[in-house]
């Protein structure tokens, strides 16, 4: 599980069905006897915790590794580190790294499956899967996503979440539009080929059922790509008045309150943000189970 680019609709459906089975407690102990190594070489709260819970609750042994406490701090290379984990008997390596392509590089050198838990501005596939799961729960299942409109708002250019969630939404049959200033978008053609809208207001006029807000990183707030937080929040932020038409709000976290989402919206009833976090455990259990071969399919 390295990327969501190129993953088909039926594969996604299978993972989400399996996640539901985990959520309903039908697959307790599915990972018994397996060893899952969590190699998080970049800060993480929800991804790290939910992977750990996903592994433990299904009975796996968990070994956690961070950059500080590992030989990476002594200068060991990424490849040597994952080869070591592989030879020590990891059944799955969950990797978070600051550089795009790190997970794919690691996977080329291990026999254990590598699960990408976020690589730089590259991909964050399990985030996209849990988003589809949480949204499906809200809209009557995976098929309920068909023909719904989702606006992906914010720093698409630097977002690994965007690079995973956009193909995910498209596979689910959703219509996708981007909302961002051109300084935070990839070139017009050949990347996403999606409509570009000028503001959250315009996204709602377009008929967005879902506003998927991306995190604006602090270092982008200094004037090089956006003039000011005030202008960004005015055109690319969600505030209470945007909720009147019933649109759902999503955000992969962590949220900059008052920047991409005003504080009183984060935990509003129309916000799926807590549901997204909650979906992380069962979806990651499903991904671990499929990757390690612990479960062949939902039927098993």
């Amino acid at each position: 599980m390295l990327t969501l680019e190129g993953i088909g609709r039926e594969d996604i459906r299978e993972i989400l069905d399996l996640a539901r089975a985990f959520a309903e407690g039908r697959l307790r102990g599915a990972l018994e006897g397996k060893t899952v190594c969590l190699a998080f070489f970049e800060a993480s709260t929800r991804t790290a915790v939910s992977f750990e819970l996903a592994a433990r609750r299904s009975g796996a042994h968990v070994i956690s590794l961070s950059e500080k406490g590992s030989a990476i701090a002594k200068g060991e290379s990424l490849i040597d580190t994952v080869v070591t984990l592989d030879r020590l008997g990891a059944d799955a390596i969950v990797l978070r790294h600051r550089a795009a392509g790190a997970a794919a590089l690691a996977a080329r050198h291990t026999s254990a499956p590598v699960i990408n838990a976020g690589d730089g501005c590259g991909q964050h596939p399990t985030q996209a899967l849990l988003d589809l799961y949480a949204l499906g729960e809200a809209l009557g299942g995976f098929d309920g996503l068909q023909d719904r409109r989702v606006a992906v708002v914010g720093d698409v250019l630097h977002s690994r979440v965007a690079r995973s969630v956009i193909p995910g939404f498209l596979q689910a049959g959703m219509e996708v539009a981007l909302v961002a200033p051109r300084t935070l978008l990839p070139p017009d053609e050949g990347v996403f080929d999606l409509p570009v809208l000028a503001s959250v207001d315009e996204a709602l006029e377009w008929g967005a059922d879902v506003l998927y807000m991306l995190r604006l990183q602090r270092e982008r707030m200094t004037g090089a790509r956006i003039p000011s937080v005030a202008e960004y929040a005015r055109f690319y932020g969600v505030s209470r008045r945007h909720l009147e038409g019933g649109a759902l709000i999503m955000h992969p976290g962590p949220v900059n309150r008052g920047v991409e989402i005003s504080g009183d919206v984060v935990l509003d009833a129309s916000s799926l943000i807590p549901d997204q976090v909650a979906a992380g455990v069962c979806v990651r259990s499903a991904v671990l189970a499929l990757s390690t071969g612990a479960v062949q399919s939902v039927a098993a």
Binding site: D188, A224, I226, P227, A230, R234, F235
Partner: protein, 435 residues
């Protein structure tokens, strides 16, 4: 004789109407009604008429580059005097540059200027906001809020943008904000002097800036315009190479470009006077550059003319050239200088000159520039036969730093009408007072 009146209707009779946008070219009558061109034909009559026998009637001129020094240097020019100077030059619409004090980089400054223009300007005036905060070339301005406040475009005029990275992001963001970008192309690592780095500067011992300072920056701006898809206008092109670069990118980017009356008519020879009056940025160039700009304008490689009207107080110009402030007055002499030097000199047709001053920039600002029926009644009456000598007493501007001082030019604006109302009127002086 029209001053003070606000005629609901006016018929201008027997003018030679020349309007490149509609193709009109002949002796015709024009009826203006309720601020619009109502009718064009022969033998039109009405309660008020103006006999324009012997005069030419053009679409109002548009100047996309003016410094009205407001706020901050109202001793040099303000909205009233700047717009009066524009009207005296036949301009019915002007774009005000943002390098004032304070710099026009905040929405509150823009909205304040827009309100003042409504009250104080004789002609239409659009506000250009700064492309980056303080025109310091680092942080982008709040272009979307600036646009909401009434900004018409953004610009880095005065200094340019040192960092190509900032310029690229500025273009991308301006595209998102829906604002065109007017660029002053100058590379400050090359532009270290005060005049063109040529023979005259070398002989006089004055530090020069090479043409490459403009050409390299122009190339950068054009490449970035093509890459970002932004709507970019390159202002005051002064070299033959920069004009050729614009031509190369004509179909590769959404670009337009202007050159100035002074770069089309004057050369670096004036540097040998050592007179601070003749310092301007970009500097006056050698004859081969000047001679290259006329054909570029004629062939539409350069889209139109803008004056870069830049008033300065005497204490900023009556100085050694190295210490003088750069800039020339432009509004009042633009048509006459270009008519005298280029049209009468055979380098440019009158029709193309009217297009380069009226319909071309009019299309760019989206208003005026045509005498089509139904269009806003914004027009300019010119006496092509009148000879006049440029002197500080004849200039309406609050300043008098015109490079044409003392020169005798042919062709003079005798009337300017904005929204159907006369904002400049010498027809009385021309024909004698009439009822």
């Amino acid at each position: 004789m029209l001053r003070g009146g606000y005629p609901a209707e006016l018929v201008i009779r027997h003018a030679h109407v020349l309007d490149p946008a509609t193709g009109l070219d002949g002796i015709l009558d024009v009826r203006l009604s309720s601020g619009r061109v109502a009718e064009i034909g022969e033998d039109l009559r009405g309660p008020r008429t103006l006999d324009a026998d012997g005069l030419h009637l053009f679409p109002g001129f548009v100047d996309v580059h003016a410094h009205w020094r407001t706020p901050g240097r109202e001793d040099e020019e303000d909205i009233e005097s700047g717009s009066a100077a524009a009207a005296a030059g036949g301009f019915t619409c002007v774009v005000m540059m943002p390098n004032t004090d304070p710099i026009v980089d905040r929405p509150v400054v823009v909205s304040g200027l827009v309100r003042r223009v409504e009250r104080e300007s004789r002609v239409r005036a659009r506000v250009a906001a700064a492309l980056h905060v303080g025109l310091a070339g680092e942080r982008l301005t709040e272009m979307r809020l600036l646009k909401q406040a009434g900004a018409f475009c953004v610009s880095d005029d005065g200094l340019g943008t040192a960092s190509a990275g900032v310029l690229r992001n500025g273009m991308l963001y301006a595209r998102s904000a829906g604002l065109p970008v007017i660029l002053h192309c100058e590379d400050h690592t090359l532009a270290t002097g005060v005049v063109h780095d040529g023979v005259a500067a070398s002989l006089a011992g004055i530090p020069g800036s090479p043409a490459s300072a403009e050409d390299a920056a122009t190339a950068t701006a054009l490449i970035l315009a093509a890459e970002t898809g932004a709507r970019v206008h390159i202002t005051h092109v002064s070299t033959a190479l920069s004009a050729a670069l614009v031509g190369f990118f004509r179909d590769r980017a959404e670009i337009t470009a202007d050159t100035t009356p002074h770069h089309l008519t004057l050369t670096e020879d004036l540097v040998s006077t050592l007179d601070g009056l003749y310092r301007v940025n970009p500097p006056l160039r050698p004859e081969h550059d000047r001679a290259g700009l006329g054909p570029a304008l004629r062939d539409r490689v350069l889209d139109f003319v803008a004056t870069d009207h830049a008033p300065h107080a005497p204490e900023e110009k009556e100085l050694p050239i190295e210490e003088a402030a750069p800039g020339f007055l432009g509004h009042e002499t633009a048509f006459a200088a270009l008519y005298t030097e280029l049209v009468l000199g055979g380098a440019l047709s009158l029709k193309r000159l009217v297009e380069a001053m009226g319909s071309g920039p009019g299309r760019w600002v989206g208003t005026g520039g045509t005498l089509a029926v139904g269009a806003p009644a914004e027009l300019t009456l010119v006496d092509l036969a009148e000879e006049w000598t440029v002197g500080s007493a004849t200039l309406v501007s609050r300043s008098s730093n015109s490079p044409y001082l003392g020169k005798t030019l042919k062709g003079r604006v005798v009337g300017t009408i904005v929204g159907g109302e006369p904002v400049h009127d010498r027809t009385g002086a021309k024909f004698g007072a009439r009822a």
